[in-house]
């Protein structure tokens, strides 16, 4: 049977796809043939890539019309849905992985969406900008103003980032909620990884990538 909406029907694997390094990290954490739900999937790049590289199936949730159009152009299954309103339309543990990249800080109630993601997915992968990044600290310390950077390009009054946090803040939330951190990586704005980052992630890391489950297991502190 011919199909369109799955890019699997195309034979041109996007080998030259210039995938952001943080998405490459996520790719390495997703198992073959997983079912994936991507919250705030944007233009569908990640799902498109995972469909080829890991033969995943799944959906993206998105509320921006331009991104939805971009997903349809790629053949990525996209559902127009405001994730701030929750995931009530998804069953418990119905996806292998629920992903949210660079959107947690824009959510009205991040702690609730995390709980929802862990209800729907067996694993959760989440990425967000680290407000404790040294440049942000320095900006606030020296200029006395809210940091503006490549990762955080907005003014305080027009930013969609209403819930910025540091890695430590995020891990505190995981600890108090009983979530287990399976893996974490930090990258800088060039999305690169190095030894210094691993030693001082909360200072040197600009973007955090976490892989968590809802298991009630002890969490090691940063």
């Amino acid at each position: 049977m011919n199909t369109i909406a799955s890019p699997m029907s195309d034979n041109n694997f996007p080998s030259d796809l210039n995938l952001r390094p943080d998405l490459q990290v996520i790719n390495s954490w997703v198992s073959e043939k997983s079912s994936v739900l991507d919250l705030g999937c944007g233009n569908g790049d990640l799902l498109y890539y995972l469909t080829y590289s890991k033969k995943i199936t799944g959906y993206g949730l998105e509320s921006d019309a331009r991104y939805i159009q971009a997903c349809v152009e790629k053949g990525v299954q996209v559902i127009e849905q405001d994730i701030d309103e929750g995931l009530n339309n998804f069953l418990n543990q119905s996806f292998d992985v629920v992903i949210m990249t660079q959107a947690l800080q824009e959510i009205h109630e991040p702690h609730r969406i995390l709980r929802e993601m862990l209800r729907v997915g067996r694993e959760v992968i989440v990425t967000f900008p680290n407000f404790g990044y040294w440049r942000n600290r320095l900006h606030l310390f020296l200029k006395g103003r809210m940091p503006i950077s490549k990762t955080l390009p907005h003014h305080w009054y027009d930013t969609p980032n209403i819930h910025l946090c540091t890695f430590k803040d995020f891990e505190d939330l995981c600890l108090s909620s009983g979530y287990r951190i399976l893996a974490r990586t930090v990258v800088d704005s060039e999305y690169s990884d190095n030894a210094m980052l691993r030693v001082f992630p909360n200072v040197l890391g600009e973007i955090a990538i976490y892989r968590i489950t809802g298991d009630h297991a002890p969490v090691e502190s940063l």
Binding site: T3, I4, S35, N89
Partner: protein, 385 residues
Amino acid sequence: MATSDSTLSSRNDGGSVGIIKPQTAIFNDLLKLKCGRTLDNYELIYETYGELNATASNAVLVCHALSGHHHAAGLHYASDQKPGWWDTMIGPGKPIDTRKFFVVCPNNLGGCHGSTGPSTVNLETSTPFGPNFPIITVADWVETQHRLGLYLGIHQWAAVIGGSLGGMQALQWAIDYPGEIRHSIVIASAPKLSAQNIAFNEIARQAILSDPDYHGGHYYLTHSYPRRGLTLARMLGHVTYLSDYTMREKFGRELKSGTLNFDYGAEFQIESYLRYQGETFSSFFDANTYLLMTKALDYFDPASEHNNNLCTALQKTLSQFLIISFSTDWRFSPERSEEIVNALLKNKKPVTYAAIDAPQGHDSFLLNIKRYHDLMRTYFNRINI
């Protein structure tokens, strides 16, 4: 569902399919209907646009809504001022591009535009069927459309598409013939009618049934016609196709003569508009067909055959789905489309859903709304044939 209003729609990119001659397919194979009755023979009038390819893999079935018909695109003669009801969507270079696809649009059984229906003469009695014409369901239409497909040499549709009642047919197709439809495109529709929807239909029916000229449905023989009832039914229906916003923008409280006359004439522009719409409609539409179509809407409920569980009803579908809703559609609101989307998600079926922000209400599905048409164009571009 409603006739597209030329002031609301703009010219689309792309051309016309040109002058189209409707065709008729005659069926002499017994048709068992959901109501338990049978039809020995029946005719379907239909139009086609584009060319069926050698492997018959490029066929698109367009299903019409309550007051629709087979004339979806193009013109019937050179000076024809009124193109088909979905002319903005279908044609060379249009979202459903007839340079790629072979598009088929029949008038449904029970209709009044050339397919067998209540106004057809029953050969057994030599009089029109009238109210004795069996009530047809959406599943019955799918069955007849399936036969029409086979008649045309189409064993699998690239897509079945429709808005409103037409979307219900596209959904029923995915359930009834899972292997014979690759894409089910359901626009401004619902998995079943709400009590409010049925209530509106019932008022429309009562308007017709209580018209003294209805004559129990046998008005064909009396040379009378329940014009007033059908006019009222259409006026009521038309209100549900528009949004509050559209009515306010278009008519507001504007008066025809500029002053209040303190009488019961059509004083406000909206009154005059509705009367005109109702009267025009009643001059070409058959009242018995209107009754039948509203019943088909009321009865549609594919979940009812699966313990009232829409998820179960959709379990065996094999097609991909595109579901589209419009923000100001209060007849079949986005939430109604989302019922379908959520049932598909629970089944892990391939589905894409877009909730188009549009002020024009239910009628949006007939209009050239940029985001809607861009999406349709892209989706159809990607359909492999």
